[in-house]
Symmetry: C2
Subunit: 556 residues, 2 copies
């Protein structure tokens, strides 16, 4: 899912702390939807009016089952297995009741949420909550010995099937919930580094750092619930990536438990001591080991923040502006360009859809930190030269308002029978327009073949000197088995991404959903490298079976 | 060896092209020393005067043998082996004569050069020069089948023993000279990317790019001879790293030939499609495969350049200034701080040593690209606040003058019997002073135990938000077997680096010299990861045996 950002106006640090409290308090997410159950909402009137115009008449499905009405298979763990797990973490940290198992049954992709609305579901056989690196290590030993698959579980926000309760060849599967690996373990203020336990959520991490005057500055849309270890394992990228970089670039060290040994990686900034093994675990999504601690580059909480929105005649002019910003350096902390379709519908302005159908393509910029007036002036020159005109501070603040609440809208759409999903890719600047066209064509054709009207929006929210991300939001009037129909259309999109030179994922990851396409991205020799590492560290294959490495290649 | 930089004054691009010509023309390096044989020089009078004061009386050794007087073992390749090699690349590109073999007998560390001064030497059994990726691949197939070890050879500038003609368990060893993999293969000006053949030297790459108005901007001291593939394989870092980053961060894609398959890696800027496999090959030093093409981030040739030198009361004040520059961002393109010992001797000012024993610690800054006045003013504020005072443009230009000629001085010192070597490490800002002390103590004690007076200098030349490099130059009056005496002292230094939390190498790499310490840096589980990849891609172990992965671990 896409990134979000607390509302602007006050000092950056203060606001963020305020935005965080529900996740800091450890309130669990809605079991079959996004976020805080108390924030679930009806579809706004404007959206209800727009849907028939865009997608035709859609029948509202019956209400989803209550948690207590869902049926899952009995736990496959023996009493002896459960006793052994309890011996490691304590009886109170092993849950094999249905409610806990259903809550850990998957991530938060639209297919995940649609599966949660079915009366029959799959689920892990137990949820186990270790409190330390050593307990993680002991659990991996135990699981390898007993033949129990292990699904590492951080914030539960995967949207690529990385949390499916797949047991592979093993007799059972547990969800390894890392929420008790919590806290700020070390701060080095001189070096600007902090070490966090992997299960610490985004808001908890920022609150702990804020007490020291520091900020990490990683704000993906999953921020409120996702964990530090999950950001690392899935190569996350947040809204401030123009200023602070992808999560990859923030990580300076990792502690990892594998079934066959431990690692402490990232000894030094700037090293030529062989390949950087930190990078082997960034993006490994729990298939090689479990990240238990993450050392991160942090910075003082920015004292100033400036918002400015821009309007471009069209998406391509906006892209040119963003490219020049990316290649000249030192620009905004946040920059995001919506295409004409996204700008017009202003999906992000929850409660305002349809009110003001803005023409052209809109850009939001946020500046944080030092030298804001100079950076803004230099960026403004570039954006003006590319055809943009400033639409002021207010428009950017309004655009940002409620961005954390975006995913709640999806739940309301699903309640109304409207299919809504997102997907993302990236490529070089010179290939961006071609890739966007290929993805949109594949989406429209795939959904049209499923006899569904669709509405596709796109934005660019992560820029690099050599290229950028493309993030698509699709609304579709899918009738029938939405999961199956979408999977067929999504497969076509993945084929189109590969054919048009894009990456199969910019920041959602591979999981199980993208695994069949990974070989086309990194080649069979690339898959062999991943398989060799997997075989060495996890010879019994207990860790997240079926994720990242496509099953066919693994068998070969 | 440390980075260098063409002299300033004119437009950056113009000057560099002028600086490059000898290497562009493919003139081979001096066989038993550095660089252009015509530039070999006598020790300047000032240095000759200083040495007895610093190191005591040193006996000048006899003259080294001429190339034609060196004895090497007969080639172990059979006539059949040689015919098979000739079938792949053509007879004229397989050299098994003594001169070619001696020229490829190793890199350019001081022990390498001292070994080149011996009458009996080791050498590869032939030098083979493929012209394409497919020829490299065919040679690897052939070598794997026939049991011939392969040492990939770029510019021949390794200073960590990565080019030793080690055959491992195989019956022969060839030097795979990549100089014919030459040229600019592709330029994408919109995305700011260029693809270069791996054997292209630094100056040739810059000349090819300059014809398109572009620059890579990677200027390590090895620049004139080292190759693009070598920069990638050894995780090089150049003098402009403060502005353009380490070579790691410039690489956007790689093409690699391994004994069991090919790879094209780096599909997209910004990807979450599993671990970044480009990073598996950056730092692999030819043990997994041979890098044949490198895609790189490039930028327009900077139109402006500004030099400024600074003086600090001492090294620690200078470090504080550099730290604040690194953590605030947007500073100089080049920044380098010499400690009191290096400042005093001004080693880099060839021909001026001893003339002006400057007090304090000197800093050189260079700004290239956009917004130079603003960047300089901001950096100046930081450096002044940290206790620095500007010593003007002239001092920085003078300091930089002749930096490409620094390594020639080492040859003259060796001729005079003075041992001179460099080593480097890195750590976090908070640990920098401790690490520097530990290395200097180990150097002094190690050399003192070898009954040698020594003079140790240190500088910081690569800065990161979380830490910095430390680069040491040591002069020693080693009597007897200088190679053996130094190896003992260097081992003590490596132990001290590990104990004090530093990395075993910041930018020289692992090679064979640092391999025994790698397990202490990445752990036994880390070594197992490297070994598993090696076993998968190079099951017969023909590629650079003994480099990077310590032999003991490989056997386990």
């Amino acid at each position: 899912m896409e990134q979000a950002m607390p509302r602007g106006g006050k000092r950056a640090g203060e606001m963020r702390t305020g935005e965080m409290h529900d996740a800091v308090l450890g309130q669990p997410m809605r079991w079959n939807g996004w976020g805080d159950p108390a924030k679930a909402k009806e579809l706004p009137f404007a959206v209800r009016s727009l849907i028939p115009l865009l997608l035709g008449r859609i029948k509202r499905p019956g209400p989803p089952p209550a948690l207590t009405d869902v049926h899952i298979p009995a736990s496959a763990l023996s009493g002896d297995d459960l006793d052994a797990l309890r011996d490691v973490v304590g009886a109170e940290h092993v849950d094999s009741d249905d409610a806990a198992r259903i809550r850990h049954a998957g991530g938060r992709s639209t297919p995940d949420l649609l599966r949660r609305r079915r009366p029959e579901q799959l689920a892990p056989d137990a949820v186990v909550r270790p409190a330390s690196h050593d307990e993680v290590r002991a659990l991996l030993d135990l699981a390898a010995t007993r033949g129990i698959a292990v699904i590492p579980y951080g914030g539960g926000t995967s949207v690529v099937g990385a949390l499916d309760p797949e047991r592979g060849p093993h007799h059972a599967v547990i969800s390894l919930d890392l929420q008790r690996l919590h806290g700020l373990l070390d701060v080095d203020e001189i070096s600007g580094e902090a070490t966090l336990a992997a299960g610490t959520t985004g808001p908890a991490a920022e609150a702990l750092l804020a007490a020291r005057g520091l900020e990490l500055g990683h704000y993906p849309q999953s921020f409120r619930y996702a964990s530090i270890g999950g950001f690392a394992a899935a190569r996350s990228s947040g809204q401030n990536s123009a200023g602070h970089g992808r999560f990859d670039t923030m990580v300076t060290g990792l502690r990892v438990a594998t079934p066959t040994g431990d690692l402490r990686l990232g000894r030094s900034p700037g090293s030529a001591a062989g390949p950087d093994l930190v990078r082997v675990f960034l993006g490994s999504e729990g298939i090689f080991g479990v990240i238990t601690e993450v050392r991160l580059r942090v910075h003082p909480i920015p004292r100033e923040r400036l918002f400015e929105a821009w309007t471009f005649p069209g998406f391509s002019e906006g892209v040119e502006g963003l490219r020049q910003i990316a290649q000249s350096g030192g620009g905004p902390t946040v920059i995001r360009l919506s295409d004409e379709a996204e700008t017009a519908v202003s999906l992000a302005q929850v409660g305002k859809i349809g009110k003001a159908l803005v023409k052209g393509a809109s850009v939001v910029t946020v500046y944080e930190g030092e030298d804001i007036p100079q950076r803004r002036e230099r960026a403004a020159q570039v954006l003006r030269a590319a055809g943009g005109s400033s639409s002021g501070q207010g428009a950017a603040e309004e655009w940002l308002h409620g961005r954390f609440d975006g995913p709640y809208l999806r739940d309301a759409l699903l309640d109304a029978g409207v299919f809504c999903e997102t997907l993302e890719t990236a490529t070089t600047w010179s290939n961006l327009s071609r890739l966007r066209g290929a993805v949109e064509d594949a989406l429209r054709e795939g959904l049209s073949d499923a006899d569904a009207k669709s509405y596709v929006m796109c934005h660019v929210s992560h820029i690099y000197p050599t290229g950028a991300s493309l993030y698509f939001t699709v609304l579709a009037g899918l009738r029938g088995d939405q999961v199956a129909l979408w999977q067929r259309a999504k497969g076509r999109v993945n084929d189109a991404i590969i054919a048009a030179g894009g990456t199969i994922s910019h920041h959602h990851g591979v999981g199980r959903d993208h695994a069949p396409w990974l070989a086309e991205e990194i080649g069979e020799t690339g898959i062999r490298i991943l398989t060799a590492i997997k075989r060495e560290l996890d010879p019994t294959g207990i860790l997240n079976p079926g994720a990242v490495i496509p099953t066919a290649s693994r068998a070969s």
